[in-house]
């Protein structure tokens, strides 16, 4: 079962993980900074409070499954998996390096990763297959698929959305990292996808909108089962580049790599955020 983490402990841990994520991207010389920072809190809640899976049960047939359809934000996933004990955090320094198993998108070479992703619009169909298999096996498995805004333009998602509702897959959860930006700019300008809640509801899904950086709200939304027979859509309102002032809601940080100065500034901001959180601890 997931460990017991308080909201405060998660917030403190998130600061450290944001440091590691930024260092990883700087070491790799490439990465998806903005989306990694926007999805990190969702991943923390999933791995600390929701998913019934651990390094020890990573191949248990009855485990919960996590599929990262927005595979480009692998840096956040690697960071969280390492922190949860799936592999040595020191390995994070090798991401994207010559002959490293840590490819720049999720790969089954790494313990805890269920399927190779990176091309968009693939995760939800795979999740439907996994949820169907779990139902056939009468397993308690829930399947969580993380998707991005820009990705929703891929038609294959809507094939899968339709199938999930057709089969009443109430153990399938689609989480949208709804940061409203993609590589070219605002999703509204590139290919508008609103009204999202109405769309998913019209496809037969049970829709919940939550603050994607609020641990309690995310936990509640993810752990409360949807009505029987309905797949669950979580529209997680997030901030691209969350936690670093000059990256927040700035499109160029989609795959921007911080310079040494920018990294120093970002780390200073994280240090300040940590000090503020610790001060709360003292005053509480």
């Amino acid at each position: 079962m997931p460990e017991r983490w308080t909201d405060h402990a998660l917030a403190l841990r998130a600061i450290e993980l944001r440091r590691r994520l930024l260092r990883l991207i700087v070491d790799a010389g490439a990465g998806h900074t903005g989306g990694g920072l926007s999805s990190l809190d969702i991943l923390q809640v999933l791995y600390r409070r929701v998913l019934r899976v651990s390094p020890e049960t990573a191949t248990d047939p009855r485990r919960d499954r996590y599929v990262q359809s927005k595979g480009h934000c692998v840096e956040a996933l690697y960071t969280v998996l390492a922190d949860c004990g799936y592999f040595d955090p020191a390995d994070l320094a090798t991401v994207c390096h010559y002959q490293s198993p840590y490819v720049g998108h999720p790969t089954r070479k790494i313990r805890g990763i269920e399927v190779n992703t990176g091309a968009l619009g693939h995760g939800l169909p795979i999740g439907v297959g996994m949820a169907l298999a779990a139902r056939m096996d009468e397993a308690p498995t829930r399947v969580f698929v993380l998707m991005g805004d820009g990705e929703l333009a891929e038609g294959s998602n809507w094939e899968a959305a339709q199938a999930a509702a057709h089969y009443g897959l109430d153990r399938l959860v689609m989480i949208l990292d709804h940061n409203r930006l993609q590589i070219t700019g605002s999703t509204r300008d590139v290919m508008s996808n609103e009204p999202l809640a109405d769309k998913w509801a019209a496809f037969g899904w049970h829709v919940r909108t939550v603050d994607g950086h609020d641990y309690a709200a995310l936990t509640e939304a993810l752990n409360t089962p949807p009505p029987a027979g309905q797949p669950l859509c979580i529209l997680a309102e997030t901030v691209k580049g969350k936690g670093i002032s000059f990256m927040e809601n700035v499109g160029k940080w989609h795959h921007g790599v911080p310079s040494a100065e920018q990294l120093a500034q970002a780390l200073a901001e994280l240090d300040a955020a940590e000090a503020a959180l610790r001060a709360e601890e003292v005053s509480a």
């Binding site: 047939p61 499954r65 089954r108 269920e114 399927v115 190779n116 992703t117 990176g118 091309a119 619009g121 693939h122 939800l124 169909p125 795979i126 999740g127 439907v128 297959g129 996994m130 949820a131 169907l132 298999a133 779990a134 056939m136 096996d137 498995t141 038609g155 294959s156 094939e159 899968a160 339709q162 199938a163 057709h166």
Partner: protein
């Protein structure tokens, strides 16, 4: 709606089939569906996934007998392959079945990433492949699938020639712990094997020994090579026939043995002449340093002629007569 189906065989070819003692079997597609149902009856983890294709896949009886083991996804081939991968990654032996023309073009990326790259032990089944849907036009032809799939790492590619090869291929795919692509046509086939063939490790099957010309053929074209070998024998030309159900991994030993033993090599496939069996054999032979008169018979790089599968085969020389002629021309020294 359409003209009566033309015969695949001229009277002379039909006579040769009788002379060689070949008996008419069924469509490989029917044997595939029947074999899959046998496997699924014995193992509830064996599944069929269809895209409104259970009729064309001859899986109606499967669906009736084992409704809990067939997953319908509607007309959505990308979703079909993704779901098949998800099922396979969750311990199911899933066969994703859809017309080869759509399956290997529209959902090529899902085959590449979700199945091959992810090493999902799934089976992707392209039905009514090649020009099985002859007169319906190029939208319904799969003449690119060997080429496209050969360039994707980690995918076994099998196109059986007859009912016995089909049975063996389906069983092999079900037991494989790796990604497999199966390709079937829908015409009734002649039986080419007296015993159950062993397809392990991509083994090619020598149907007839010979030392003048080697026909190296795959899928529904193999019978025409067998008939051509019979016709050439009457002229004193000794033809070897190698059935290559497994395009990858290619049985390089058998291919090289044939190229070394014979004075000419003719490859035959229901596929574009680009990127399929012929070019795989050519690369194998040439890189081994074997120089031999060589011809790739398939569908040429042009707007494919309209007609039934039989018309298209005859038009492009995939026939006893056409293949015999190619062999003769390769074996005849050019006039000085």
């Amino acid at each position: 709606m359409s003209a009566p189906a033309p015969s695949m065989f001229t009277p002379a070819a039909t006579e040769m089939a009788q002379q060689l003692g070949l008996s008419k079997g069924r469509a490989n597609l029917e044997v595939f569906a029947e074999t899959l149902q046998e496997l699924a009856t014995a193992d509830r983890n064996v599944l069929a996934v269809t895209s409104d294709s259970r009729g064309s896949g001859k899986l109606g009886p499967f669906g009736q007998a084992l409704p809990a083991q067939i997953v319908e996804v509607g007309i959505a081939e990308q979703n079909l392959v993704g779901i098949t991968a998800g099922l396979a990654l969750s311990g199911k032996k899933a066969f994703g079945v859809s017309p080869a023309c759509f399956l290997t073009a529209r959902s090529l990326e899902q085959i590449k990433n979700d199945i091959a790259y992810s090493n999902a032990p799934a089976v992707v089944v392209g039905i009514s492949a090649g020009v099985s849907y002859g007169a319906l036009g190029s939208t319904h032809h799969s003449l690119h699938d060997f080429a496209a799939l050969r360039a994707i790492h980690n995918l076994t590619i099998i196109a059986p020639a007859d009912n016995a090869e089909t049975r063996a291929a389906v069983r092999l795919a079900a037991a494989a712990q790796r990604p497999v692509f199966l390709r079937f046509g829908k015409a009734a086939m002649f039986d080419l094997h007296s015993d159950a063939p062993d397809l392990a490790n991509g083994r090619a099957l020598t149907l007839r020994d010979g030392s003048d010309v080697a026909f190296i053929a795959s899928g529904e074209t193999v019978v025409h090579a067998v008939l051509a070998a019979g016709a050439l024998a009457a002229e004193g030309i000794s033809a070897r026939v190698l059935s290559v159900p497994t395009i990858r991994p290619l049985d390089m030993t058998a291919v090289l043995a044939a190229a070394r033993a014979c004075r000419a090599v003719v490859t035959v496939e229901e596929h574009s002449v680009h990127g399929g069996l012929g070019e795989a054999v050519a690369a194998t032979v040439l890189q081994a340093g074997v120089a031999v008169p060589f011809r790739i018979v398939g569908i040429p790089d042009e707007d494919t002629v309209t007609g039934a599968q039989a018309d298209i085969f005859r038009h492009y020389g995939i026939s006893m007569e056409g293949l015999s002629e190619v062999a003769r021309s390769l074996l005849t020294p050019p006039a000085v």
